[in-house]
């Protein structure tokens, strides 16, 4: 599904990722952990195709194709989904409308007929229930005056509706109360599927107690410092990142 080979990425000339190797197979859930500034979000963005990041070395293959050659929207239509750490507000655009154009962009890409508003609504309703979200949220402007929890749930809702092949969840758990965390975890677990791969980017182990990953990787200073099974996350919780990376805490925080 996803093969990352010796990936080096720089932002404004400064190297952030320094040789990442990672293979994710269909059906697998991988957790990427690490302190602030370790390059986790950069990895998420580079996979989703955000501008401003320069690949200086290495390659990323997605389903055998050169992922880095595709524009962000092409990746999305080909089944790559990024759940944002900070979901973006779009005033005046109804949440359901964004879902509709997103679904239809992917369907057009696959040569399938577009869905009308009613079809979309029927699809979205069942997922709303899963995420414990009120239908009124569909008619509010995208993420505008959503609470932190509503925004994160909304990201997972979009994932559930868009049914991607590769989902990258960038700190889907940050800033959530326990109920919202459970709803988000429920949404993610419901999307685990033999045909779908997921990458969970997170600081903490608490999400990983609810969504048990197949593999855990610790990112430090732009490299994968360690990889292991779920038990690695538990170890981190006891020792902190310093125990693994050989340093106390992280570097300066990057947004």
């Amino acid at each position: 599904m996803l093969e990352i080979r010796n990936l080096h990425v720089a932002v404004d000339g400064a190297p952030i990722l320094k040789g990442i190797d990672l293979t994710v197979k269909p059906g697998e859930v991988h957790a990427i952990m690490g302190p602030n500034g370790s390059g986790k979000s950069t990895l998420a963005y580079i996979l989703a195709g955000r501008d401003g990041y320069r690949v200086t070395e290495g390659e990323v293959r997605y389903g055998g194709r050169d992922l880095l050659a595709l524009a962000a929207e092409e990746r999305a239509r080909a089944g790559v989904f990024l759940a944002f750490q900070y979901p973006v507000e779009i005033p005046g655009v109804a949440n359901i409308y964004l879902l509709k154009v997103a679904i239809n962009a992917a369907r057009r890409h696959r040569g399938e007929p577009e869905l009308d508003a009613m079809d979309i609504l029927l699809r979205v309703r069942s997922k709303l229930k899963l995420m414990d979200m009120d239908e009124s949220l569909l008619y509010r402007a995208v993420n505008e005056s959503f609470s932190g929890g509503e925004k994160k749930r909304n990201e997972i809702l979009q994932m559930a509706v868009l049914e991607p092949k590769l989902a990258i969840l960038d700190e889907a758990d940050s800033g959530l109360d326990i109920d919202a965390l459970k709803a988000v975890a429920r949404g993610i677990n419901a999307q685990r599927d033999p045909g779908r791969a997921m990458i969970l980017v997170t600081h903490y182990q608490r999400l990983l107690q609810l969504v048990v990953p197949d593999r855990v990787h610790v990112l430090a200073q732009g490299c994968i410092a360690r990889s292991g099974g779920w038990e690695l996350a538990a170890e981190l919780e006891r020792t902190g990142y310093g125990g693994i990376t050989g340093r106390e805490g992280g570097e300066e925080a990057r947004p």
Binding site: R50, D51, A72, E73, R77, E89, V93, V101, L162
Partner: protein, 482 residues
């Protein structure tokens, strides 16, 4: 950020869709302006004496006026003697009596613009008073409207057929002395639309006019007068496009609205005149005076405008709230791309008691566009209990454009309440990326974000116009923002 700007620039760099020129024989008066030209225009239009006198009065006043320089728009000096002040498509004597008599070339032009008159008659239920260059070509639905006592015709026809009404109301909202461009228009106006809704009548259809500038070097001086008598209601749509041209063209229209007791007038504009090319060459100069008069109690006038065209837009649709409890509204979307300049806004003049006004302005600037909101809210001494709410939002696309807001507020009655809110934002790289990561192209993303930004205004437009406006915004932004 650099890549974003590049992307925006590419998107904005789209050609003008309606850029074509129709070869039609044109009857044109030689360029230049003097009393003889005004007499000639008046004579060609077979106007009664009072109309000629009014034109001459305006012309003599105009001679003593200077072009206003207080706005932010910048343009090379206009040579008023180099402009031809009258052009009418040539036709068999007396003008067409029906669509069959209309020059087929003209009809094809309308079809290119998506205004097939014949179909419109049946499908849309819209009576179109189409203006090609300066004279009306065809008027539809007239009979149906006539049954209700509604007069909807070209201005020239109104001058001939309803001189008393014209005489009573012409210049009563925008006097011939009002401003430089209004005075010029009063002297040389070519044609336009006239509409009168009798007492208690609710106009059963949206009335609309399509304007178009076509003949080379011909300034357009439209004059529109709409009178809603006591308790009447009318909704009026004005939309325009113009073909691709090289020289700047001057357009100085005047629109006057009069609402008597309990009457309501809704006036909506979608303006898409040629904005000039990517380097800012060509494009229409649009200096318009639009004003409504809520002359009696409980009257209501609302302006809704979507301004995407013209090289220069200088336009302040206003409402004078004379009658007690009168309501004035202004909803505006103004978009400037490439080197377009817009200095637009409104004036709400509160004179009557408990008068209310609402202003919602959405300015969008892309490319090197300059977008200015300029608005006056005045609460006079007599306007006890007057209230105004103003909201001005600006959206910037790219880093070479500019948006400014100049609110003028004058309150002379202590019970007046005036609120003003303003915001400036830009389409962020994060918004674009968010949409793209959901599968939208940069262009579709920008279009969606901008339309979202304008939603408050679009919902004031009649349904089919709103759809048109959304498409227009998308087209106008192509190559501008992702």
């Amino acid at each position: 950020m650099a890549t974003e700007t590049l992307k925006l620039d590419e998107l904005i760099a789209r050609g003008y869709e309606h850029g074509f020129y129709t070869p039609v024989e044109v009857d044109t008066v030689p360029s230049g302006l003097n009393e003889a030209v005004i007499r000639l225009i008046s004579a060609k239009k077979q106007e009664p004496e009072f109309m000629l006198e009014w034109r001459l009065k305006a012309f003599r006043h105009w001679l003593g006026m200077t072009e206003p320089a207080w706005s932010t728009v910048r343009y090379p000096a206009i040579d008023y003697q180099a402009i031809s002040y009258y052009a009418a498509p040539k036709s068999r004597a007396g003008g067409p009596r029906s669509l069959e008599e209309v020059d087929p070339e003209l009809l094809r032009t309308y079809e290119k613009l998506g205004v097939p008159l014949e179909e419109r008659e049946i499908l849309a239920g819209v009576a179109v008073d189409a203006v090609f260059d300066s004279i009306s070509v065809a008027t539809t639905f007239k009979d149906k409207l006539a049954e209700l006592g509604i007069i909807f015709c070209s201005f020239s026809e109104a001058v001939r057929e309803h001189p008393d009404l014209v005489r009573q109301y012409l210049g009563s909202v925008v006097p011939h002395t009002d401003n430089f461009f209004a005075a010029l228009n009063s002297a040389v106006f070519s044609d336009g639309s006239f509409c009168y809704i009798p007492p208690g009548v609710r106009c059963p259809m949206e009335l609309s006019t399509y304007f178009r500038i076509n003949a080379r070097n011909t300034g357009q001086f439209e004059r529109t007068l709409i009178v809603a008598d006591r308790g009447a209601y009318v909704s009026y749509l004005e939309g325009c496009t113009a073909p691709m041209r090289d020289e700047h063209q001057l357009h100085a229209a005047v629109v006057e609205l009069v609402a008597l007791e309990g009457a309501q007038i809704r006036y909506a504009t979608v303006q898409n005149w040629y904005p000039g090319d990517k380097e800012g060459k060509g494009g229409i100069y649009n200096f318009v005076t639009k004003r409504g008069d809520c002359r009696e109690a409980n009257s209501h006038i609302s302006w809704t405008q979507v301004e995407t065209g013209s090289a220069i837009t200088w336009k302040y649709p206003s409402v004078i709230l004379q009658g007690d409890n009168a309501v004035g509204e202004f909803h505006s979307v103004a978009l400037t791309n490439n080197y377009q300049q817009a200095d637009t806004g409104t004036k709400m003049i509160h004179l009557g008691r408990n008068t209310r006004s609402t202003i919602v302005s959405k300015g969008i600037a892309a490319g090197h566009g300059k977008n200015v909101y300029r608005g006056l809210v005045r609460v006079g001494k007599s306007a006890a209990g007057a209230r105004n709410y103003t909201r001005c939002d600006s959206l910037l696309l790219g880093d070479k454009c500019a948006a400014h807001t100049f609110p003028y507020i004058e309150v002379k009655n202590p019970s007046g309440r005036v609120e003003h809110e303003a915001s400036t934002s830009r389409i962020g790289e994060d918004q674009l990326f968010y949409c793209q990561s959901r599968g939208l192209s940069a262009e579709d993303a920008v279009s969606m974000i901008v339309n979202g930004f304008c939603r408050e205004v679009f919902k004031e437009l009649p349904m089919e116009f709103a759809v048109e406006a959304q498409k227009l915004l998308g087209v106008s932004l192509e190559g501008s923002v992702g």
